[in-house]
Amino acid sequence: MSDSTVREEPELIQLLTPDGEYVPHPDYPFEPATAQVRDLYRDLVLVRRLDAEAVALQRQGELGLWASLLGQEAAQIGSARALEPQDMAFPSYREHGVAWCRGVRPRDLLAMFRGVTNGGWDPYEHNFHLYTIVIGSQTLHATGYAMGVQRDGALGEDGTAVITYFGDGATSQGDTNEAFNYAAVNNAPVVFFCQNNQWAISEPNDRQSKAPIYQRAAGFGFPGIRVDGNDVFACLAVTRKALQHAREGQGPTLIEAFTYRMGAHTTSDDPTRYRTSAEIEEWRRKDPIARLRAYLVREGKADDGFFDAVEAEAEKLGEQVRAECRALPDPAPLDIFREVYAEPHRELDRQRAEFADYLASFEGAEGAAR
């Protein structure tokens, strides 16, 4: 049997080469205005700094866990800067760059990974849903939300679009494939943004999916596109078009952002067990920040003064994040009963009272319970 069912590998949609050369694409118009490009550069550098600080904080025991976005900054910043304020985003657990663009304070993001809150931010204040840890489940939640948008009649040129983020690993899950199908048959205004970072923990992409991920969409009856995930221009332009498509009632799009997880899966992982330094080196040459910096220099759109200022701002952000994280107060033991039910629950009240008595029974326990 031949492999004719799998179409030839397409070229990535790319607007910015690894050397920092801007190459316009007829289907994805993009005007790299100086101010906007400088803002994108600043976003990329700051979220990388935030990420590095969080990894360090985890290593110092200040956070329980952290899932690093290193290498995926362009995919996240590009797609998130394509969102309109009314658009809703459903992240997995690595979308710190998207959170940044949606105005979630770094401290609130870290509070969740520190375990001092189960929420951290108001999803409706930022139109950015809380992180979903279970793989792929949020694709269905986003589809349901998008169907709600449809039901509300909130479509049109200035309507609402929904975006959901997930990784290549999630494309093996039933939930994600069910979301594709459900969104397709309902023509739901949702963009499926898959960051294909090549690895689901230790499982390489070719052990998860025979066909390129973006090609799945065709089988479900909607368009799929592969974009250079380390190219912030392309991610922005392609996502903006897909969101507009959804917003205007033309249904879902699958975007496969072809990128690379430069760090570990999470701080609990050791990637040296399963991948080579040569592979990492190859991707380092496609670094999203280096190429944007090369573009800015090449085009004369930024000088050392600008780069130094961004660097200084990043350092300040790191310090601020560190200080704010360490200052987060520990919750009190009785808090465990607080967010189980929205309504009062007699049995839980009984258990809470019993536990309060138990805590009070220890010597010097006064004030320990709240």
């Binding site: 375990g115 840890i133 923990i201 067990r273 465990i336 009963f337 839980l348 536990f355």
Partner: protein, 331 residues
């Protein structure tokens, strides 16, 4: 006898069973190249190759279903589900297929598969990754559920589970992997469905399984120093449940406490308490008490997680209360 960890006991047993029977093979996420999220399958890919140790995509319903198919036609898959929490994605294949195929296909196909999976909190993994939902499986006819607490039982019961012709859910616990114990050199095949009195006593019966059986023996050791004689029953098997051993112990001691890592309401302890009142009502001098996890999604913050989980201290407190109820001056 050599002293090894629970983890090592599982690994040695898997390896020995794979050597013994060509039909035994492993499937699961991260079990090959990565050697398992908890390193149970370390070295096995290297030794047995990809034909016997298969890494799967993140699709629990998919690989459990594939294992059901393989088992129906005579292979003996041992599936690792990274944690019992993820087994919920495979619930239909486990409950509606693995458990029912033997009956619904007129006894023509059994499903000799093992699902190995750890439960347990205490590792700061958050509410969706720290549950003890073995009850869901212990509830289902057609399944067997074992929950060993020591390295020796882990080896003996894993051996039994692999050789069993029915689907067995083999419950491990994150808090047990590094615990050590003696494991005999000779091959012991455990009996599924048999509890053990792991410590004899006369004052009170303390029932536990998996991590809480380990805690129970620690509590018994400590209370012995105060002159309290605790008999510890390690269930080892949740389905079939060995009611006889539990009831006989209570007939001797006259009172009982159940320690469980799952939630209280409808939990495993409720079944044990009911079994005791059915089998030893006339022997009871005090109500059967249960110590379980607070009925909340397990928090991720360390102090809150500790607060929610049952502990040696909370078990001891309830033992004191029960003994006071039968007129003993303790604590």
């Amino acid at each position: 006898m050599p002293v090894i960890t629970y983890r090592q006991a599982l690994r040695d047993t898997l390896r020995a069973e794979m050597h013994r029977d060509e039909n035994v093979f492993l499937m699961g996420e991260e079990i090959g190249v990565f050697e398992g999220s908890y390193k149970i399958t370390e070295g096995l890919l290297k030794e047995f190759g990809e034909r016997r140790v298969r890494d799967t995509p993140i699709a629990e319903e998919g690989f459990v279903g594939a294992a059901v198919g393989a088992a129906m036609l005579g292979l003996r898959p041992v599936v690792e589900i990274m944690t019992i929490n993820f087994s919920l994605l495979a619930l239909d294949q486990i409950v509606n297929h693995a458990a029912k195929i033997y009956g619904m296909f007129g006894g023509q196909n059994s499903v000799p598969m093992v699902i190995r999976t750890p439960g347990g909190g205490g590792q700061q993994l958050g509410a969706t990754h720290s549950q003890n939902v073995e009850l869901y499986y212990a509830f289902v006819p057609g399944l067997k559920v074992v929950a060993p607490s020591t390295p020796a039982d882990a080896a003996a019961l894993l051996r039994a589970a692999i050789r069993d012709d029915d689907p067995v859910l083999f419950l491990e616990n994150l808090g047990l992997y590094n615990t050590k114990g003696e494991v005999p050199d000779e091959e012991v095949v455990g009996e599924i469905g048999r509890a053990a009195v792991v410590r004899e006593g006369t004052d009170i019966t303390l029932v536990g399984y998996s991590r809480m059986a380990m805690i129970a023996t620690q509590v018994a050791d400590r209370l012995a120093e105060e002159g309290i004689s605790v008999e510890v029953v390690d269930l080892r098997s949740l389905r079939p449940l060995d009611r006889e051993t539990i009831v006989n112990s209570v007939k001797k001691t006259g009172c009982a406490v159940v320690a469980e890592d799952d939630w209280l309401t409808y939990g495993i302890g409720a079944e044990i308490a009911a079994s005791i009142q059915e089998g030893a009502f006339d022997y009871l001098d005090a109500p059967v008490r249960r110590v379980a996890m607070a009925e909340v999604p397990l928090p991720y913050a360390k102090p809150l997680e500790n607060a929610a989980l049952p502990s040696a201290e909370s078990v001891t407190t309830v033992i004191y209360e029960t003994l006071r109820a039968v007129g003993r001056r303790v604590g």
